[in-house]
Symmetry: C2
Amino acid sequence: MFNFSPGPSMLPPAVLQTIRHELLSFRGSGLSILEMSHRSDSFSEMLEEAQADLRTLMDIPSQYLIFFMQGGATAQFSAIPMNLNPPADYIDSGLFAHLAFTEAQKYGRVVCAGSSRAARYTHIPEYTLSPDARYVHATLNNTVYGTRFSRLPETGSVPLVADLSSCILSEPFDVSRFGVIYAGAQKNAGIAGVTITIVRKDLLGHALPITPSVLDYTRLYEAGGLLHTPNCFGVYVCSLIFKWLLAQGGIPAMDALSRERSGLVYEALDDNPLFKTHADKRDRSRVNIVFTTGSPALDEQFIQEAQRRGLVGLRGHRVLGGMRASLYNAMPLDGAKALAECIRSFKGDAAIE
Amino acid sequence: MFNFSPGPSMLPPAVLQTIRHELLSFRGSGLSILEMSHRSDSFSEMLEEAQADLRTLMDIPSQYLIFFMQGGATAQFSAIPMNLNPPADYIDSGLFAHLAFTEAQKYGRVVCAGSSRAARYTHIPEYTLSPDARYVHATLNNTVYGTRFSRLPETGSVPLVADLSSCILSEPFDVSRFGVIYAGAQKNAGIAGVTITIVRKDLLGHALPITPSVLDYTRLYEAGGLLHTPNCFGVYVCSLIFKWLLAQGGIPAMDALSRERSGLVYEALDDNPLFKTHADKRDRSRVNIVFTTGSPALDEQFIQEAQRRGLVGLRGHRVLGGMRASLYNAMPLDGAKALAECIRSFKGDAAIE
């Protein structure tokens, strides 16, 4: 069975086996990771390894802090303006980009620097940055509409703040070009309930007085990253994913695999005249492929046919309908091949069409 | 081995076995609960069961909403004032009560209605409520100092808002007397990364405009409790704990066990002149027993002796030192017996003493 869910999503079978294997006794301690104090030596060691492994994987410079936070990317939609104190520019490239922009309006003057909303987000918009912005926010991959920034926004000396929820660890990013990176872990990096947040240290110290402590990067830093009990099990799953990624060859290997997987599926879609993708060709995502036949009945027929072949989680997001195939790091090439084959061979039932 | 950690803490072995058993295929679905969409039928069904089981266990009236939130009790320290809009009274009965009070000051006029801080929180303070308070906040069990409210604060028509992190599901509470109940799950109800929040519906609609969406009860309610991806695995563990509690006889059984466990340990402490408890007798907690010999060297000797007997997690909180035994729902009577026996037989090394 191949699971194309957009997140929570597939995990590498080897990681699932490790979790199962050591569930009753973490690293021979006799205690389950589920029962272990977040102040214990075993947990601290694992947390530090996770941070070090992520630093290695993404080549994160030393002036960046790594936090494992809670509340998903949605909590960061508030945390970003509360910590970085607008005015700020937001690029409106999709559903979550728009939610981030809307949420930030609670905390200061934020400007929509460019939007493709009127075009139903089929492409990454052009944008014009404000002279006084304290940061520029962008969602580098748009999970719902299946688009991606093919190059990083040029923000000059203004910090780039980016939601990498669906593309983190699946392609290389030059971390030194960012002020803050955040990503819900449940797509490429682990399970739901953990948000990886990478913050350039010189941006600390500017939080609004009304910032909840749990969302205040400065408070978190002062507390050594453990202001309160973290999602211990979620961090543990991240730590296993990071080790698995390192063993697979790290981000260069994931990047190559991501191109190959998405290439296979897009080729099949382009070759079958029944299908079209939502995204314009130049801005197509490599991790979320959003497509449709244009007919809800035919889409349903495709989803059923795929399910018969063991390809699940293909139903599109409720705002667009149709299909969405999410191809994150844990998706083997064989999954993409099976999906491509299913797309190629799909003819549709003339009666339905 | 018995784990007396204050949270994350012991889980029932039967629950750990179930997690392990169905880790690769949740309820025969072929997918792991770790990989399953929070919008899938299987997950929704499990979530609804968890809510219904908690409602049964605590006899929660229908006008109360149940949310599984993220960010621990610490996030609720901000969420409470942001949603309920001070002025408010806070009873300062311990470390977390004090943190809640301090955090609330960011969001309006909050009054310390009573405090035992000057007495190092050895007892529950007397308190005087303000005439204009919109709510009264209390921490019903104080994890660090080992005290508990032996009766609910009388707040009249003013909503009582309470942190039940360490005592939820271990004794009966009349939910109808509360406005909001919140509890980190990692003590009696599950694992870290989930906060159970129970909100009386008529309190919705008053959130401050600066409330982050993830902490806004009204937004959560409007989104059917799923405003963003929840900590799916954490909710699943709660659901298993709830079913386990129902099978054990629910809260009456847990309450009886809790009295018996704590009684055994306090008796042993009272019988051995080497030890004293931090809490005054009348306010002693049933779930966190905080004690010391008064000598750090002797305390260390006791901790080592206990460890040799397989009794772990007894080291006290860093603000008090000494020992703390946390006796949550998953602690079997045999654990309390073994600890009581260790306390009774402890003589201390004369050289150290």
